[in-house]
Symmetry: C2
Subunit: 491 residues, 2 copies
């Protein structure tokens, strides 16, 4: 029950708009998924959770949502040089593996780790490599419409030509004139007319293993193309919502708009949504900065930036405590505050089962509920929504303490509010233990192994050996290190 | 360490052969995977576990295995009528869904349920719909070589023409003359030359949503083709092992051989392996017989044929107790016997941690080990392998009871035997409940709290208090009891 309508910030309009699907009750949602050439890290989580909350809320509102999130397993050109060298391919050559074996490994890893956040699987997760024909068809259409050109077996999108009729830069606000004057002199040997032209189809050099035949010769599709093609295939030429990280706004999404418009003569997306980036202690996350944190490192606490392990639910809650369009800074302090905050809400929820019921309530639950939903309806303002739940928790504690009262219908209503907002839409899990035993195991192991170090220091080798033997019997591998210990679970 | 070589029954030679990979240490393994148009059921489990054991054992033998198992998400023609109506498509029309949304749903469901059996994910799980170009290329090659013909936008494999040069029926033993006389008069309006010709490419009628463009018009590939194409793409024109259920031997695998031979002029598979079928109380499993059991029904026990729920490990163990080439009959009695059998082995394994060690052993562990591996090497004879582990369990119980003795090196060897055969190769999980961190936490807490009891008994109250304080700080509530302790996680 939500009186107000859902309002979403539309990046292309740069303002909030009432969400009105093209073909209610159906909603088409497309989100840019992972490039599967590396381990899943913190950067993967924010879009996964942001659009999971949207997906869950739209379903809660009884829309029938088809949520498509792609897997980029081919054609991701190096962003800077655009030299046609495929990241996956590079890795595969290094590892002497079939590219699809590498892609499969990291796809499995992504799905497994992301599932720990209680993120619902999308309706369709199409692979770029599985849609080569469709991409070739779209290239053919763009060529036919005069917005692309063939050069040495590659096909490039002709941005200047496109911009004569349409508006390249519509989403990002970039001006083609500035792009032109900035970059034209830098390019010399390039086979593109303009540096900002982008590949739709790249000729495959002999060394390229990932290649497909085409009327333009053997090659592979350009990175931007897959999203245009697969969103069209599964959601139609015009669909409701396209989401992704803000880092993809330019050039990726700008190019998507250009491709769809050039092929179909119309823009494909009604609402563009962009989640903001995460930072680590105020810094951008990057491999070179030493603050690049893998998800398994978050869960185990084994990273120099981490004081302890953090459970998937702590991280999920932490993300919901910021608005998706704000930057979000990871710090141990902030995460531990979220851990406690989530605990407080779950404790209050558990209290609901044993609360004394009165004739009257001393609190206006209906207003609280409406305000919480109003927050969600206001461009998915989850932090404000949660703040209302914190108010509810405070009230519940007061009822427990006897300083406030609640009647039975309000009690039922409160349970429903928590179930709907925190679990069903927020995607958090009601069970505290299920989300914390992983990290609790680490804490208990620390206590036990430090005890063993102390025993050794006291020459109590019987105790030290007993601890080791018993842990080994329980299936742990214990490694002594100069500065402490390491452990892992066998298998 | 296995002295004998692995021997596998080669279905096409109808005899056992020493396994010698084409390019050691690499091994290419292709297995026919699920058609994703329905819930995963008991029939899906046997091939998944059979080839998982093979995959695990080959890796144990230090082969570098690329294991490809396909996902049939398109082109599975109705077997009987071969009328081009795709099963997935039929379902999608009924449900008013995009075919790939149905396929995604059942793919997720298959992977999730199968993972519960501790089945390792294959190296690559290619989708038929993702390899249309490759299938078209193979059709082109077969047409060029004269073993296929085009009729009304469909391409059919010309079995009679193929059989003039090669041997159609080589795997299944069917004779084309008999096939001819049996079926020719039944066909009238069919556009095929002979009834046993099969589709490589089917023209898509207007009603078909799953369709791709081709030089022969819009259509979709025939079912048999995907396996030939994807095995060639990921494992090469000739590869080591092709596995699948015995029900696929004809026509599917026979057609695969014909396709590969017609396209490449040579057979593609060195060793063909076929697992036998399962029956339910002596009957074939079938939806119409009321004995069609879904995996979730097995795990919940909610099916009229089931007396109780059976865990994935019970079912896995049950399957290993039969040779993969024998039929396997499901009954409550047999499953409950397996449940007890697995428990017996796991109990014996746990006893190994607390066995009294003597100077001498009263049992020849080395011979037991060799015999167990000999059984595995004899065409993966897991029931015989397990019978040796049962002998070991009996011996372990006798050592515990004091009627047999074991020395320390044999004890270590026994642990290794269980670890290798039961867990690493057999794929069973050592922990009776589950090997999740949940139960590990319990085990570690036991170790830690018993240590605290011992400290108190030794009047080392400093250590005892330290353990309690640290656990409390980590969020545990510790309650001392007369006969020990209890603990729980706070909140």
């Amino acid at each position: 029950m939500t009186k107000n309508k859902l309002v979403l910030y539309n990046s292309i309009k740069k303002k909030k708009e009432v969400f009105e699907p093209l073909n209610p009750p159906f909603v088409g949602l497309y989100v840019c998924g992972p490039t599967v050439y590396g381990d899943p890290h913190l950067g993967h989580v924010r879009p996964a959770i942001t659009y999971d909350v949207l997906f869950r809320y739209l379903k809660y509102l009884n829309y029938r949502v088809r949520y498509v999130r792609n897997i980029t397993d081919v054609g991701h050109l190096e962003r800077d040089s655009d030299d046609g060298e495929d990241k996956i391919l590079k890795k595969a050559i290094i590892e002497q593996l079939e590219p699809m074996e590498v892609a499969q490994y990291y796809t499995n890893s992504y799905k497994y780790q992301i599932s720990k956040f209680n993120v619902l699987p999308p309706s369709i997760e199409p692979q770029a490599s599985g849609h080569i024909i469709e991409q070739q068809q779209m290239i053919g259409q763009i060529l036919k419409n005069g917005y692309a050109y063939l050069k040495n077996g590659s096909v490039y999108f002709d941005v200047e030509e496109y911009n004569k009729k349409y508006n390249y830069g519509k989403l990002s606000g970039r001006k083609i004139d500035e792009l032109l004057s900035n970059t034209r002199e830098l390019e010399g040997q390039d086979e593109k007319k303009n540096s900002f032209d982008f590949a739709l189809w790249k000729r495959a050099e002999d060394k390229h293993i990932m290649r497909w035949p085409s009327e333009w010769g053997d090659g592979f599709p350009g990175w931007h193309l897959e999203c245009s093609t697969m969103s069209t295939k599964y959601l139609g030429e015009v669909f409701d919502i396209h989401g992704g990280g803000m880092d993809l706004l330019f050039p990726h999404h700008e190019c998507e708009i250009a491709q769809s418009t050039a092929a179909n003569g119309k823009e494909s997306v009604k609402y563009w949504m962009h989640n903001n980036m995460i930072t680590i202690e105020g810094q951008k996350m990057g491999k070179s900065l030493g603050n690049f944190i893998l998800l398994e490192e978050m869960f185990s606490g084994k990273h120099e930036k981490l004081e302890k392990a953090y459970s998937p639910m702590t991280i999920r809650f932490f993300m919901l405590q910021a608005h998706y369009r704000s930057t979000l800074d990871f710090s141990n302090e902030a995460l531990q505050a979220s851990e406690k905050g989530l605990e407080r809400l779950l404790n209050a929820f558990q209290l609901l089962d044993n609360l004394p019921v009165s004739e009257k309530s001393s609190y206006d639950i209906e207003t609280l509920k409406q305000r919480a939903f109003n927050a969600l309806n206001d461009d998915l303002n989850t932090p404000v929504m949660l703040s209302h739940l914190f108010d509810a928790a405070k009230y519940i504690n007061s009822v427990k303490a006897g300083t406030e009262s609640i009647n039975s219908s309000d009690l039922a209503s409160l349970k429903e509010i928590f179930n709907d907002l925190l679990f069903d839409i927020g995607g958090l899990l009601p069970d505290k233990e299920s989300s914390s035993t992983d990290s609790k195991l680490g804490e208990v192991m620390d206590i036990l192994l430090n005890l063993r170090i102390a025993a050794k220091a006291n020459k109590d080798f019987a105790t030290a050996d007993k601890i080791r033997d018993q842990l080994q019997a329980a299936g742990f591998i214990i490694k002594d290190k100069k500065d402490g210990f390491e452990w892992e679970l066998k298998n």
